[in-house]
Symmetry: C2
Subunit: 395 residues, 2 copies
């Protein structure tokens, strides 16, 4: 028989996929502009002009055989140099190209990192709400996912709960800030305490616990909010980065893993990352986009558009009486279902042509996610429907 | 502790990497044109002009947010449609887009396929000489690699040996034709017999055995040699394809898995492929190059250049007295060390500035691999050195 676990993963009912299919059909029935689809985290803002210009230059002027040729498994030296310098200048660190491993995006970064550090039966702690694929990657690495609940008022980390979830088997902790699906940025105060707890537990158990910072949304923060760079707070840190959101290139699968040079056994862990990538079938990150990143390291998408969207939808929904934490980053709004049932809110919203994602799978019951990475008009046009939804709940 | 197995894989001495480093240093010492480096399987022929033109069009005329956006996990419907039609028209089959799963290249295709069909402790048979990474991917899927020895005169499959290696635990068989590292194309006669043995064994053991056709070199064959399309010979076949060699795009990581619609439980196996891809961290194949493949499905690299290289080097080396099977495909020549020792031949050749890969890790002792995907001049200039090497062996 084929592999039952792989089959179960491949055939699992996916609510997001169902919404995607429904949205297409419904748009044909009543028109795209009448369907308020907020289900997908696909960036709506164009990639920076530099990206397109760089691709144009690369294919016009370079040796095409070299341009599209294999790079070394850890990535082209030039792009790794530029990335390490960029990190050093922004966060006062001392990375070298040999601390950087280029990947096919954030999912690859995470699955490789986990495979590199975890052993059969060890535990990885995640903070709810969390990106559902964490469970898949942790289990693929032979590990067990342990969920730590948040402070339900702020959706920040609940330090007491976190402390109680760490055991002798804890090998890794994933922090995702700005957070998908809540948009919350964990404060420096919380990060300092999380790291202090981890230091204590490392000393108590006498082994390393790795902090994995999953941060594809780092550049998407609004106002003067700061996202602490975890290597500055905790030695045993690995950063999983992706350019999917920061350059609006999610389909191109380009990102990296940065291994803190000050980590214990840093070079061995880096080699374990190389080995894990090899065993999962990653030969190198896409070569054209490695060169694009090298040339566009300082390029930025227009995040003002996302900020405008956030302000409109957050202000409107709270005015209508919905309960949600104001997101400081990413492009998601995480809304509490007024009757505590995420699926019934999803169904009720659908009647007003609003498509939301019920989030029970994100490790916290009774919330829906609104991805506001859409055209501003869609948000403006949807507000009446949201008002009607609020009335359904007598808010 | 970090994962020891991943570390071992990442830190393993790689002879090809060592040669790569040595080659760079030596080129600086005596000049690039004096170093006859035949170690790397990096295509030397340019990608077809259509590829560059298509990229130029896509980035000039398309919506860039959509162009670089996520595709569905199995790949964009348009490219899967074009690929299935292309397979159907060439091999008289009836695939649909739902039999095609786009991947990040051949290594991804293989690791996903193996993860989709194998269970802990089951066996996968490979034919030596074989691409060394097969062992890594089989072991990552929890399987055990079993090596079947070739007929040593022809390097074709030894049917008796193959038959003896199949056990109740055999779940998969990988066929790589044209073969890396030998360049041998398995004949239709051999394929018919391999498939007939597999049918018998399936009946005997009462379970499916999957034939995995790893065929990145399918389009690189010389003269009127035909490479049998395995779905035409055996129902439980999955094809792992990559455009790395056929379009000279190895760094871009683009390929696919085709699951035979006539296979037992074909749609379940396809879903297992989707699930395996998900668990390994593959979100989708690079989106720009999915669209490139859609538009360039009939594009071809200039394989005449490879054929010329093959003829020059094969004719010269056999004239000098070396023993090798004439390769009908790929861009490798697999040469027997005159004293049976691959490493001493590698060292002796190095003294004449020839860089070859000793192939003991490819599952067959005493051979070296010459990758003739290089500039024709390098081959012509190297012939004197090969003649001297022959004299060292008193050939």
């Amino acid at each position: 028989m084929y592999n039952k676990k792989a089959y179960a993963l491949g055939s699992k009912r996916s609510i997001i996929r169902e919404i995607f299919e429904y949205s297409k059909v419904r748009a044909q029935e009543i028109g795209t502009d009448k369907v308020y689809d907020f289900s997908l985290g696909n960036p709506s803002v164009e990639p920076p002009k530099e990206v397109t210009e760089t691709i144009k230059n690369l294919i016009s002027t370079n040796n095409q055989t070299l341009l599209h040729g294999y790079t070394s498994a850890q990535g082209d030296l030039a792009v790794r140099t530029v990335i390490s310098q960029n990190i050093n200048s922004r966060f006062a660190l001392n990375l070298t190209p040999n601390n950087i491993y280029m990947t096919c995006g954030a999912a690859a970064s995470l699955s490789i990192c986990l495979k590199a550090v975890m052993n059969e039966g060890e535990e990885c702690i995640v903070f709810s709400p969390f990106f559902t694929e964490y469970r898949v990657f942790v289990e693929n690495a032979g590990g067990k996912l342990v969920v730590s609940n948040p402070n339900f008022d702020t959706l920040q980390i609940d330090l007491e709960d976190f402390n109680s979830k760490i055991t002798e088997n804890t090998k890794a902790v994933i922090i995702n800030s700005p957070n998908n699906p809540s948009g919350v940025v964990y404060s420096e105060e919380i990060i300092l305490k999380v790291c202090s707890i981890l230091e204590q537990k490392q000393a108590e158990f006498g082994h390393d616990i790795y902090l994995i910072s999953d941060e594809p949304y780092r550049e998407l923060v609004y106002g003067d909010v700061k996202v602490p760079y975890l290597m500055n707070y905790y030695k045993n840190t690995m950063v999983c980065y992706s350019y999917s959101k920061s350059l609006s290139l999610p389909g191109e699968r380009i990102g990296y893993i940065a291994v803190n040079p000050d980590m214990n056994n840093s070079s061995e862990v880096y080699l374990a990352v190389c080995g894990a990538g090899r065993s999962l079938g990653y030969v190198c990150a896409p070569s054209l986009f490695q060169k694009v990143i090298e040339k566009c390291i300082n390029a930025k998408v227009n995040i003002d558009a996302y900020k405008q969207n956030r302000d409109i939808i957050y202000n409107a929904l709270t005015e209508y009486g919905f309960d949600c934490v104001k997101p400081d980053g990413a492009f998601y709004l995480f809304v509490k279902s007024p009757d505590g049932d995420a699926y019934s809110m999803y169904e009720k919203a659908k009647k007003h042509e609003i498509l939301l994602v019920p989030c029970d799978d994100f490790g916290i019951k009774g919330y829906v996610r609104i991805a506001y990475c859409v055209d501003k008009k869609r948000i403006e046009n949807s507000l009446d429907a949201f008002m009607k939804l609020a009335k359904d709940y007598s808010l």
